[in-house]
């Protein structure tokens, strides 16, 4: 009886001359792969100067098992020679398929040194944001050229898609825009009244509500809601059309994607956002008035008499004049990012995120510019 150097459920290593005998037993299939792989180190250690691998006692064999046999042979080869014997007829083809080891190839995308990664990311992000702003501007120019062309030749405008988009981005947004404006108006009066009451000036909460809501909050909130709601939808719709080559198909059919996809959305949003802003202003003031009634005992009639005295129509115009500009920014960002989608479903997701972040950022930046401008002209 030969001396057994190592034994497990799938392997038995026996001392032999000149080389050890490695008997492979049992099923060498994917179900046992983990256990077999674990035995490898001990087996290789047991056969010091090469070995003969006896495959005659293997039960079932599959490609994973064949790969494992090859790995054993390779490991043993490092110390000496490894020879396969007793290969059963049924296993022959399988072992031939797997016979040659694949060369070393990385199975993951290439990695950078850890401390270079943030530097590279910062650099890439900076370059990317500068160039994407430039591309966005040139896209805006392209859209404006098509828009002016369409206005000079109104037959090119697509009325039904515009109406459809107005329904989607305008009418159906009224619920959420109204709800949020109402709550913000009410909260502002609620919080403002508490603070102003310390100075005995709680009646001025109406001035505050009127100015803040009409000039800034009404339009800004509406624009941000629409950027999240419609801007993202624009990107996703156009992006998935891009992925399915529908945009390419359009071009070959002689349709201009800007005319078909971008202009209806842009025009619909430019018409709807001022209307939504007007509606948001109204609902916000009503919310504030109700809160004033509940908290400060100012009846709605008194509220509106005072409101008319202190709030000039200019505040309303300052707010509403910004709406078409914000609408253009949101629609341009959404459509531009949609048309930039390429390759995979991942790109669609990241472009949608980008479109919303970019639109909200640009809306707020533009709002700051407007604010400086209106201060300069004493409005």
């Amino acid at each position: 009886m030969p001396e057994i150097l190592f034994e497990s459920a799938h392997i038995a290593v026996e001392r032999g001359a000149p080389a050890a005998m490695v008997r492979l037993v049992g099923d060498w299939t994917i179900d046992h792969a983990v256990a077999i792989d674990c035995d490898m180190a001990a087996t290789v250690a047991a056969c010091e100067e090469g070995a003969v691998l006896d495959c005659s006692e293997i039960g079932a064999l599959d490609t994973t098992g064949a790969v494992l046999i090859r790995r054993y042979a390779e490991e043993i080869e490092k110390a000496g020679h490894a020879v396969l014997t007793g290969v059963q007829g049924a296993h022959k083809t399988l072992l031939e398929v797997i016979s040659s080891a694949p060369p070393e190839v990385s199975t993951e995308p290439e990695h950078m040194t850890w401390y270079l990664v943030p530097l590279m990311q910062a650099g890439a992000a900076t370059m990317d944001s500068i160039s994407s702003l430039g591309r966005l501007l040139s896209f805006l120019g392209l859209v404006l050229i098509r828009l002016i062309g369409s206005l000079l030749n109104p037959g090119r405008l697509r009325l039904i898609p515009i109406l459809h988009q107005m329904d989607v981005v305008g009418l159906r947004a009224m619920g959420i825009v109204g709800l949020i404006s109402f709550l913000i108006g009410a909260v502002m009066v609620n919080q403002g009244a508490i603070q102003l009451a310390k100075f005995g000036a709680d009646i001025f909460v109406i001035d505050m509500l009127g100015i803040a809501h009409l000039r800034e909050l009404g339009i800004l909130l509406t624009a941000i809601i629409i950027a999240g709601r419609s801007g993202s939808a624009f990107t996703a719709q156009i992006g998935s059309m891009k992925l399915h080559e529908e945009v390419d198909a359009m071009m070959t059919l002689g349709m201009n994607p800007i005319d078909v996809l971008v202009l209806p959305r842009l025009i619909a949003l430019v018409i709807c956002l001022p209307l939504l802003t007007f509606y948001a202003d109204l609902i916000g003031i009503i919310g504030g008035a109700l809160m004033a009634w509940v908290q400060l005992d100012i009846t709605p009639a008194n509220f509106f008499v005072y409101f008319r005295d202190v709030i000039s129509i200019d505040h309303y115009w300052v707010g509403i004049i910004k709406a078409p500009f914000f609408a253009a920014v949101i629609a341009t960002c959404g459509c531009y990012q949609g048309l930039q989608v390429e390759g995979s479903a991942d790109a669609l997701g990241s472009r949608t995120t980008k479109s919303v972040v970019q639109a909200i950022f640009l809306v707020i930046a533009l709002d700051a510019l407007f604010s400086v401008f209106f201060t300069a002209i004493d409005l």
Binding site: A33, D62, T93, E96, V97, P102, S106, E108
Partner: protein
Amino acid sequence: MDTAPDTAKTEDAAPIISVRGLKTAFGDHVVHDGLDLDVRPGEILGVVGGSGTGKSVLLKAIIGLLRPVEGEIEINGKNQSLLTGEEARAARREWGVLFQDGALFTSLTVAQNIQVPLREHFHMTQDLMDDLALSKLSMAGLELEAACKFPADLSGGMRKRAALARSLSLDPSVLFLDEPTAGLDPIGAAAFDKLVRELSRSLGLTVFLVTHDLDTLVTVCDRVAVLGDGKILVCAPLKDVVDYDHPWVQEYFKGPRARGAGIIRD
């Protein structure tokens, strides 16, 4: 016929897939009604039929993505509708499925795609999984440089091969292929046909293959099943199917394209 395959060895064996009285429907629209089909171990069965005869629906019903209205489907002698969740999971490990467009996960590299099922079912070392992934890739006839590429960077033919490598990763005994050569150029399609045949022979795979491609039927399939009128019209080696008396079968196998594929000789 020079490519006529030898099916005698599997003639008497118990079927590996057995479908009895299958009925599938979408609402009122009945796709299959009383369909019977046997797939024998080790054979390559080609399923053909006109558009809308439910080839893909049959495949989906067999692999359990679609619940049949009536009928029984047995795979390896197990009735698929009676399996518990855990049994069904174990049974699914026995099959590989190649979807029409590959259905590779776009956010993972090709090698990671192949390793997904390994990761899901086993706790192997990364080294072993890399080795296995590369072995499957070379079995599928793909250059190993493709391992670290993303599916979006591959051509259609390479994507098919990568998807085939993934479907082989759990060493299945049955392979389901949904239109494997659709969208490939004739050379790529012929190479893919050859690959399927070689893999099936060397690994002893049973292949269930849905196709439109006459060349595939000629070069790869041991038997051909023709779907029509919600049933299997005929299921036999190609040379017998060609003579089957049914208008669709006659038009399909005696049309100009069949002439090109060398099914009939003048």
